[in-house]
């Protein structure tokens, strides 16, 4: 008879889990989960390494760099205006602010001022851009929390604003509208009614979103008290913009160091209290209302009145024929020929040119009518475009800060006296909040990472340049 050894009684869990001892509570391990660069969040590419104890985040680390495109190195390669398309792609949801910020930094280096009308135009276009940024941010955050309708509404409102931007600049997103010394072209004649109708739609959408989100139990539960960062830490992390204002610090570059026409306009700085995601959402919603208020005031005070680019009843030439005649040397009468230009080129005519560009010949390209119609204009154009010539600020450096949608967007430009910038540095407003992201999510649940990351509004183009 074979002796069967005595089998010790095993607990039920051990039996089902197989060999080995059942782990005691003190001997559990934390799980390392990687919210990798390819993730469903609509904000940007980022990798968040989390160490999880169940659902709670014990430690987190953020890795960026998945969209580094060498912006600063590219700016050094070409003349000053060549940097414009690169600046569009920095914060690509509010590209006009980046354009104008860079132009203002170079203008500061040159020591020139832009015309008053140009200042108002820059204010108007920047505020419209700020509204599109906040719409995208809140829309994407809401979608990640499950409110897909809000996203559709916000993007619908954004489309109306993009149509307005397209009328002015010619493009929806990557507009390259700013130029050192001014803007590419003046506002089209029917700008004001277009803006008013776009704002009507935007206000309707914002009302609907308020009804859907602001008192919504689920939204409030997921956002209130989540992602809190204390006031001292926010300042120590150099966080500016809506995140700092949600902590109760009323710092806004438009008020602290006014630029363009902001000192002549009346607006409020919405400020929160708790520094959590819900307050950041409320601050952004209030800022959109304030931006619309600023644009309406600026439109009312726009100096120079409506720019008259109507053609008189003479036989018209298309711009292509005009250019060909000029190149062939048939220049008599060319200066007086009226043209019918496409709506977004109309603002580049001679009459409009002076109203938005600084009167500095060494910096601003002459209007096309002068370039093709007179030898002085041609020489001026040539001197600004050819390599080695062009905009040549004196040796030195300048830092200019504008209020981007995420906070202080600073451009630090170093010039060596040639026509290429020696160094262009963009101070990205969303780098500090992303650096503070581990601080904000440590101790909270995995599901809280999503709204916190959404309210940081990390735009990878700006973060990693």
């Amino acid at each position: 008879m074979v002796e069967t050894p005595e089998v010790p009684a095993r607990r039920t869990q051990e039996f089902f889990l197989g060999e080995g001892t059942f782990p005691q509570p003190e001997a559990t391990e934390n799980l390392l989960v990687n919210m990798g660069p390819a993730h469903p969040a609509m904000h940007g590419v980022i990798r968040i390494f989390t160490e999880l104890d169940g659902e709670r985040v014990v430690k987190a680390d953020v890795e960026i760099g998945y969209l580094h495109r060498g912006f600063e190195k590219h700016c050094e390669a070409g003349p000053y205006n060549n940097a414009m398309p690169y600046t569009d792609r920095l914060n690509y949801v509010s590209p006009l602010i980046n354009n104008f910020g860079y132009c203002s930094a170079v203008e500061k280096l040159l020591g020139i001022d832009v015309t008053e009308r140009c200042q108002y135009v820059r204010v108007i276009m920047s505020e419209i851009s700020r509204i599109t940024d906040h719409l995208t941010c809140i829309g994407a955050t809401a979608m990640e929390l499950g409110a897909f309708t809000v996203f559709l509404y916000m993007i619908k409102a954004r489309e109306f604003l993009w149509e307005v931007i397209e009328q002015v600049t010619g493009a929806r997103l990557t507009i390259s509208y700013g130029r050192v010394g001014g803007v590419k072209a003046d506002l089209p004649p029917d700008f004001e009614p277009a803006v008013r109708s776009a704002f009507r739609e935007t206000r309707t959408v914002l009302d609907e979103v308020h009804k859907l989100l602001t008192g919504n139990r689920i939204f409030v539960d997921r956002m209130k008290g989540v992602g809190v960062l204390s006031r001292e830490e926010t300042i120590s992390y150099a966080i500016t913009g809506p995140m700092l204002r949600a902590c109760g610090v009323p710092f806004d570059v438009r008020r602290a160091a006014p630029y363009w026409a902001y000192d002549r306009l009346d607006f409020e700085i919405p400020v929160g209290e708790a520094g959590d995601n819900y307050d950041r959402y409320l601050v952004r919603m209030a800022e959109m209302g304030q931006s619309m208020r600023i644009v309406e005031q600026a439109l009312a005070r726009l100096p120079g009145g409506p720019v008259s680019v109507d053609v008189e009843g003479r036989p018209l030439a298309t711009p292509a024929e005009y250019v060909d005649r000029g190149k062939l040397g048939k220049t008599d009468g060319l200066l007086l020929t009226p043209l019918r230009l496409s709506p977004n080129l109309r603002g580049q005519e001679r009459a409009a040119h002076r109203t938005v560009n600084a009167p500095d010949k060494r910096v601003v390209l002459p209007p096309k009518a002068d370039t093709y119609g007179s030898i002085e204009g041609l020489m001026n154009h040539f001197m600004l475009i050819m390599e080695g010539f062009g905009i040549r600020p004196p040796k030195g450096e300048a830092y200019f800060a504008v209020e981007g949608a995420n906070g202080e967007l600073g451009f630090y430009v170093v010039s060596d006296g040639t026509d290429r910038p020696y160094r262009v540095r963009c101070r990205p407003p969303c780098l500090p909040p992303t650096a503070a992201l581990p601080r904000m999510i440590e101790g909270s649940m995995v599901a809280d990472i999503v709204p916190t990351f959404g309210s940081v509004n990390m735009i990878a183009g700006e973060l990693e340049r």
Binding site: S236, A238, Y399, Y412, E464
Partner: protein, 165 residues
């Protein structure tokens, strides 16, 4: 506080360590000797009159190809400081030699210096003494070189890296 008053206060406290001051285009700047940089930054943050509680930006400039600066240090690390309470700004610059590119870290003073210094290390190769975790920020570890240096060509190709966990 007025910019001139800020620079005067720094000069009064640090004397010969302030190599140069200036206010080109209204930006008040002080060029500081590296030896007393850590002390100066702490003074800027803690002094009751200055109260620079925000390190707005930390970057560097490579002066290798700058016309007329052949004699000086190759790099300059630039700090832009801002005070939320007072509302004033200052720029602090520190010249750094090419053969000894080390600067004391500002991480004990401002939390954001952690990432700003990692970026400067990544792009320029300037080390920060006292930084807890100095690794690349924007580029991957296998990357060779420091791209924003002037002797790095913009279209230099790097080998593609394979998938990794």
């Amino acid at each position: 506080m007025d910019g001139h008053a800020i620079l005067a206060r720094l000069r009064e406290r640090f004397g010969p360590a302030i190599l140069e001051t200036g206010d080109h285009r209204g930006d008040h700047t002080a060029v500081v000797d590296r030896a007393r940089l850590a002390e100066l930054l702490r003074f800027c943050r803690d002094d009751a009159a200055l109260r620079f509680d925000m390190l707005m930006d930390l970057t560097a400039v490579d002066y290798l190809k700058f016309p007329g600066r052949d004699a000086g240090a190759r790099f300059e690390v630039v700090y832009h400081l801002y005070s939320v309470t007072e509302g004033h700004r200052v720029r602090i610059k520190v010249p750094v030699e090419e053969d000894d590119p080390v600067v004391p870290s500002a991480v004990p003073l401002w939390a954001i210096a952690n990432w700003y210094e990692r970026e400067v290390w990544d792009m320029f190769g300037i080390r920060f003494d006292g930084h807890p975790d100095l690794r690349r920020l924007l580029l991957y570890e296998e990357f060779v070189g420091h791209p924003l240096r002037k002797d790095y060509a913009i279209n230099r190709r790097q080998p593609l890296i394979g998938p990794r966990n």
